[in-house]
Symmetry: C2
Subunit: 149 residues, 2 copies
C-alpha cells in the first residue's frame, strides 16, 4: 500500500485498528524496566494502591497504542512523525488480559506556512478496552508531506 | 526515604536525576515491539529518512524519562500518578549511545477543589542528552496527597 499525502486527509476521516491483548507478564516486565512502581509490578501491592489492582504503566499503554497506530490504515508517506501533543490522558487503568483497540479521528488538516512541502494532520487517538471504555486519549500533530506538484 | 505530601512541594523546586545510556540494540527491539518504522529499526533505512540516522522511538524516550523520574528524588506519597499532560514534544532525536538525564521543575502546586485530600503538582520534565540538548520536554500534572491534618 502506498503512503498518503496531506491532500489525502480530510477532517472527519476515521481509522480503526486491530486488537492487541495486554499480557500480565509484559505489564510487570515493562514496569520493571521503565516504571518500577508497586502498582505496576505486584498484584498484592497494587490491591492496596489507588488502582485497586495491577495496572499497566501509562507509558506501556501509550507504546501499545503506537503499535496499533503504526499497523493501522493511517499511513502517511515517510512514516508517522509526531510533531507534538496537545493532550494525553489515561482515564481508566489497563488491566491484565485487556484487549486494546484504537480509533483515530482526523480533527484538522493544515499546510505548513514555513515549510511548503509539508503540513500537519491533527488526530485524536482513543484507545479503548474490550468493554468500549476509553483507557487513553491523546491528541497529536503528525507531520505529513504534501503531494509533489 | 519517606514520601512527600502536597505541602512539601513549592514552585521553583528542581530535581535532578541519574544518567541512563541508550543502547542501540534496545532502540531496535523496543521499536520492533511498539513502533516498527524503518527509521527506528534499521541503520541504512534510517539514513534515508527525515532522521538521517537511527533514532529511538519517542515512546522509548518517554519510557526512559519515566524511569529516570521514578528513580529521582521527586517522591510523592503513594507514588507517581499522572493526571494528564499539557505538553509532550521531542525537539531532537535520541541516538544510539546517548546518555539521557532529566531535570524536573515544579511549575505549580494547587489543592484540588473537588477532592480535599489531594492536589496537583504541575512539573516540566526536560530530558537532555550528553551535550545538554533537550530531546524531550513534557509538562505533566501529578496527583499528590495532602498531609493529613
Amino acid at each position: 500500500m502506498s503512503g498518503m499525502y496531506l491532500e489525502d486527509f480530510a477532517v472527519g476521516q476515521a481509522f480503526g485498528s486491530a486488537r492487541i491483548r495486554v499480557d500480565k507478564e509484559r505489564i510487570t516486565t515493562f514496569a520493571a524496566e521503565f516504571d518500577p512502581q508497586p502498582f505496576h509490578l505486584d498484584e498484592d501491592a497494587a490491591r492496596q494502591s489507588i488502582f485497586g489492582g495491577l495496572a499497566a504503566s501509562g507509558w506501556h499503554t501509550a507504546a501499545l497504542t503506537m503499535r496499533l497506530f503504526v499497523d493501522s490504515d493511517f499511513r502517511p508517506v515517510g512514516g508517522i512523525i509526531g510533531a507534538g501533543f496537545d493532550e494525553l490522558r489515561w482515564p481508566r487503568p489497563v488491566r491484565p488480559g485487556d484487549q486494546l483497540q484504537i480509533e483515530t479521528e482526523v480533527l484538522e488538516v493544515r499546510p505548513s506556512k514555513s515549510r511548503p512541502h509539508q503540513g500537519l494532520v491533527k488526530v485524536r487517538i482513543t484507545t479503548t478496552n474490550q468493554h468500549g471504555e476509553a483507557v487513553q486519549v491523546f491528541v497529536a500533530n503528525i507531520v505529513v508531506p504534501r503531494r509533489p506538484a
